[in-house]
Every structure is written in structure tokens, then in C-alpha cells.
């Protein structure tokens, strides 16, 4: 799990489960590879539209991909 600005995300794990490269995920999201890398390494929190795009792509609720660390926010 990657931590950024208090925000954690599962992007790297989800991508690895699908055997996708960063470039391939970037293409599927129509963003740059740098954007995917920055989200994965916690240097950038995506906008709400991009977070929704990720949720649709991985067919998961946003809160299962991103976790702000607030107790009770994780829906596992």
C-alpha cells in the first residue's frame, strides 16, 4: 500500500494483479505514465474524475482503492 499526503492507495497491487505495466495502465486511463507512477508512489493524489475512472477500470469502489487513513473509512 502506498501512502501519500495521508492518502493510501492499492494501485500498484491492483495493476500487478492484472500484469499491466504503468504505461499500459496509463493508456487505459488516458493519462501519462508519469501520472500513474506519481499516484503509485504517493506523490500525487488523483482528481475525483480520475479516481472514478480508476474505480470503473478496476470495477471496485473508490474507497477500496484509496484510503484516507481515517478510521472507519475502510470498507473491508
Amino acid at each position: 500500500m502506498t501512502k501519500a499526503h495521508g492518502m493510501n492507495n492499492q494501485l500498484k497491487v491492483l495493476r500487478a494483479m492484472r500484469n499491466w505495466s504503468q504505461a499500459e495502465l496509463a493508456d487505459r486511463l488516458d493519462v501519462s505514465r508519469q501520472a500513474v507512477n506519481a499516484i503509485e508512489t504517493g506523490k500525487y493524489d488523483p482528481s475525483l474524475p480520475l479516481a472514478f475512472k480508476l474505480a470503473r477500470l478496476f470495477e471496485m469502489p473508490i474507497e477500496e482503492i484509496f484510503d484516507d487513513g481515517f478510521e472507519g473509512s475502510n470498507h473491508d
Binding site: R15, R18, N19, W20, S21, A23, E24, D27, R28, D30, V31, S32, Q34, A35, A38, I39, K43, Y44, P46, S47, P49, L50
Partner: protein
């Protein structure tokens, strides 16, 4: 996006992914900007062959011909008017954030330097304010911050 055309190989590597519309737009915008800069640069060399280099031509304030000054100004202004919307239609969230911060940093750089230079000049402590040096300085700040946010 035509993802069905993509062929999965091993370890997530793919072959022949079609270029996305966003990337095409990005490359067109960058190519267009480079072309405008190139035309101005090459043109400047032909009208001022005695000036040692192009950077000095623009930052060192040697005399320019009227035709070049008007033509290059029009190219610059029209080029920016076309290139900026092209570019901003092609950037993603991540780069947009990099651009916002780099633009702000460039403005702060200008806001620090310009009044200080102007005040010191008013007391005859430094040469007159040079707008192009301020522009060059804030552009350098802009590029450094953009690179930091985009590629760190």
C-alpha cells in the same frame, strides 16, 4: 480507446498499443510550439548574422529590423494563441497540477525580482530593469518546478 487491438504478452508488456488521442494532441502541441520557436530562431539568424548567438539576440538588446520585429511578434502571439489551447486540451490531471504550481512559482519569482530591481535602479544602484531578463528568469523557475512535479 481501441483497447481490443492491444495484444498482451508477458509481465504486462504489450505490443503495438495505438497512440491515444490525448498523446497525439500533446505531441502536436509540442511539435507546433517547437516549430514556431524554430522559425523565429532561424529567421533571427538570417536577419542578424553579425550577432554572436540567438540567445544574445533576444536577451542582449541589439537592434532588430522592423520587418523581423513585427513578423516575430506576430508569430509569437499567434503561435501562443493557437498552441496554448492545443496544449491544455492534451495535458492530464497530473501535468495540470505541475503547470499550476510551476506557473505560480514563476509568478512568485517575478514578484520577488521585479520590484527589488526597480527600486534599486531608482536609487541608481543597478542598471535599468530588463523585462526580457525577468521573463527569462521566471521561465527558468517555471521549467524547473514543472520538471520537479512532472518527473520527480
Amino acid at each position: 480507446m481501441a483497447l481490443k487491438d492491444q495484444t498482451m504478452t508477458d509481465a504486462g508488456k504489450t505490443t503495438k498499443r495505438p497512440m491515444s488521442l490525448r498523446r497525439k494532441r500533446y505531441l502536436i502541441a509540442v511539435g507546433f510550439s517547437v516549430a514556431i520557436g524554430g522559425i523565429i530562431g532561424i529567421w533571427s539568424r538570417t536577419v542578424s548574422p553579425d550577432v554572436p548567438d540567438t540567445a544574445f539576440l533576444f536577451l542582449g538588446n541589439p537592434a532588430l529590423t522592423a520587418s523581423f520585429a513585427i513578423g516575430a511578434s506576430l508569430l509569437w502571439a499567434i503561435g501562443l494563441a493557437i498552441g496554448i489551447p492545443l496544449f491544455h486540451r492534451a495535458v492530464d490531471d497530473h501535468e495540470e497540477r505541475a503547470l499550476l504550481w510551476s506557473g505560480l512559482a514563476a509568478w512568485y519569482g517575478f514578484a520577488f525580482a521585479a520590484p527589488v530591481w526597480w527600486l534599486l535602479h531608482r536609487a541608481d544602484l543597478v542598471p535599468p530593469v530588463d523585462a526580457m531578463l525577468l521573463f527569462a528568469g521566471s521561465t527558468i523557475v517555471n521549467v524547473i518546478v514543472w520538471l520537479w512535479f512532472k518527473f520527480r
